[in-house]
């Protein structure tokens, strides 16, 4: 009997009223676990969190490194990946509630105390309630579609459009010739831009595209060279560094070696 069969036998799927009972029991178990965690002294809680973190990480590490059955492309843990993923989704759902609570707490406080900008807070709260009602109860109606497509998406598009103006002001600052590096940047940017647009390509279209020494002076060729030979390796090098950095921090978090920011101070105080 493999692990999957063993777990299926231990926790058979619940149907009908049993399903609701199982959900209720799970909820009660979560609440009890929450209070038990709160009651634990800081150091014990820290040890428990470290153990849970290690076991969760170990699951994914084992699932990745354990050899797989070539026919099914699965090992003895693969079947549990969706279930573990669901646990993460459930935890994320709980935190979404906390996020909404934060929004309501701050903006309701503003409205009640009539602080500066309370009108904006009122609009936010009303919009939030209207959107939630539309999403929960009227999904296939014109009301829902109007709110999401005509209002929310239009706002998103408007915000995205402001980027065009911000890019111009940022480019103006970046390309001001005030040092050797800025000059190099400006010239490279100009060549890359010209190499991408028809009028730029037209400027050197009389030079053969390839096969002669002069071909390297075509604007589109210089542009491609800058993008593929200068820019791409630099980006890949940054990518390597980030990948290795990510691995290091993941290891530190997995083995609870990360100190300072997360729960450490509190645990040590207690």
């Amino acid at each position: 009997m493999n692990l999957q069969q063993l777990l299926s036998r231990a926790f058979p799927p619940a149907h009908g009223n049993w399903r609701w009972a199982a959900i209720g029991l799970a909820a009660v178990a979560c609440v009890l676990l929450f209070f038990a965690l709160q009651a634990l002294p800081g150091r014990a809680r820290k040890a428990l969190i470290a153990a849970a973190t290690f076991l969760s990480g170990l699951f994914y590490a084992l699932e990745f490194f354990w050899p797989v059955n070539r026919k099914t492309d699965e090992n003895f843990l693969t079947f549990a990946v969706p279930t573990v993923g669901n646990v993460i989704n459930v935890l994320a759902a709980f935190t979404l509630g906390l996020g909404v609570f934060s929004l309501v707490r701050i903006h309701l406080g503003k409205v009640v105390k009539l602080r500066e900008g309370w009108g904006n807070s009122l609009v936010l709260l009303v919009s939030m309630v209207v959107m939630a009602v539309a999403g929960l109860g009227y999904q296939n109606t014109l009301f829902f579609r109007s709110l999401f497509r005509d209002v929310l998406n239009s706002f998103d598009a408007a915000m995205f459009a402001t980027l065009a103006f911000f890019i111009i002001s940022a480019a103006y600052r970046a390309f001001r010739v005030k040092s050797a590096e800025a000059t190099l940047l400006m010239v490279s940017a100009l060549v890359v831009m010209l190499g991408q647009i028809p009028i730029g390509q037209y400027l050197t279209h009389w030079i053969p595209e390839k096969g002669t020494f002069a071909s390297i002076f075509r604007l589109d060729n210089i542009s491609n060279w800058l993008l593929l030979t200068v820019n791409a390796p630099a980006t890949r090098a940054i990518g390597f560094g980030l990948g290795i950095g990510g691995l290091a921090i993941a290891l530190r978090l997995w083995l609870s070696l990360e100190r300072g920011a997360f729960f450490e101070a509190k645990a040590d105080e207690e």
């Binding site: 906390l98 290795i244 691995l247």
Partner: protein, 260 residues
């Protein structure tokens, strides 16, 4: 589903790098001293906090659209240091978040940082708040906050996408001193153009070690450098292999690292 047996060579490299990083962490914990070069962007943090103190205006910290992953947690580690420094001077801080899971941890981190700085009474529960998980709704919320509060310093650390320039330019317009760092390489040019200091590439992950000088983090940082040397050697061997005709594509080393 991806497994190690799909590409044993990659898995072997990951395992080897993990061993190297853990080894350097252990040696650092046992007292070996490591040197870290100067990172101007991180030195500027104190300057930015000092300026906010002089101006009497708040500090803004944005973890971008980061979720509860290594990027978001690293952003919080950096913010934790900034908050400890800011708390000593009584600066007000604002931290909007776009991810509800990160928001809960951020709240805890900010409270703990004030406590660690010896100023738990200065912690304002309204300083950390969840705005929206929609990219541009979050962007408009943060930009509005920057303009309304006229922030003196803006710290942008985490995952950023198209909204990065909205934050950075809004900060520019109110004259904030800005320090940014992200793992999103496509957003780096925008930050470089608009921010006073930008932390590039793996400097982002080096930040906590650089700031805290904690042996575990320093050891990890040195381990990362050894791993980079290893990757560099692999690349060099690959270049040599492809350059020398006698070796070429059929050389086992090239074959081993060829994508199939």
């Amino acid at each position: 589903m991806t497994h190690a047996s799909d590409r044993w060579e990659s898995a072997l490299l990951i395992a080897l790098m993990s061993v190297i990083i853990l080894y350097t962490i252990i040696t650092a914990q046992r007292g070996r001293k490591y040197f870290v070069r100067r990172i101007p962007g991180l030195n500027a943090i104190d300057e930015a906090v000092g300026r906010a103190t002089e101006m009497g205006r708040p500090l803004l910290m944005v973890p971008g659209l980061s979720g509860l992953g290594v990027v978001g947690l690293q952003a919080l580690t950096i913010f934790s240091y900034i908050i400890k420094t800011a708390a000593k001077f009584g600066n007000r801080l604002i931290m909007p978040t776009a991810d509800s899971a990160l928001y809960t941890v951020a709240e805890e981190v900010v409270r703990d940082s004030y406590a660690a700085a010896g100023r738990p009474e200065d912690y304002d529960p309204n300083s950390v708040f969840f705005l929206s998980d929609r990219q541009f709704a979050f962007a408009s919320g943060v930009a509005g906050t920057i303009f309304r509060e006229k922030v003196a310093a803006s710290f942008l650390f985490g995952d950023f996408f198209a909204e990065s320039l909205i934050f950075a330019e809004a900060g520019q317009q109110v004259g904030a001193i800005q320090v940014a760092g992200t793992v999103s390489t496509t957003q780096l040019p925008f930050f470089i153009a608009s921010c006073d200091y930008t932390i590039i590439g793996d400097e982002y992950y080096a930040a906590s070690a650089y700031i805290s000088r904690e042996p575990t983090l320093l050891g990890s940082l040195v381990g990362q450098d050894y791993c980079k040397i290893m990757v560099l050697l692999v690349i060099l061997l690959g270049v040599i292999g492809m350059t020398i005709p006698a070796l070429g594509k059929s050389w086992w080393f090239i074959q081993w690292f060829t994508l199939r």
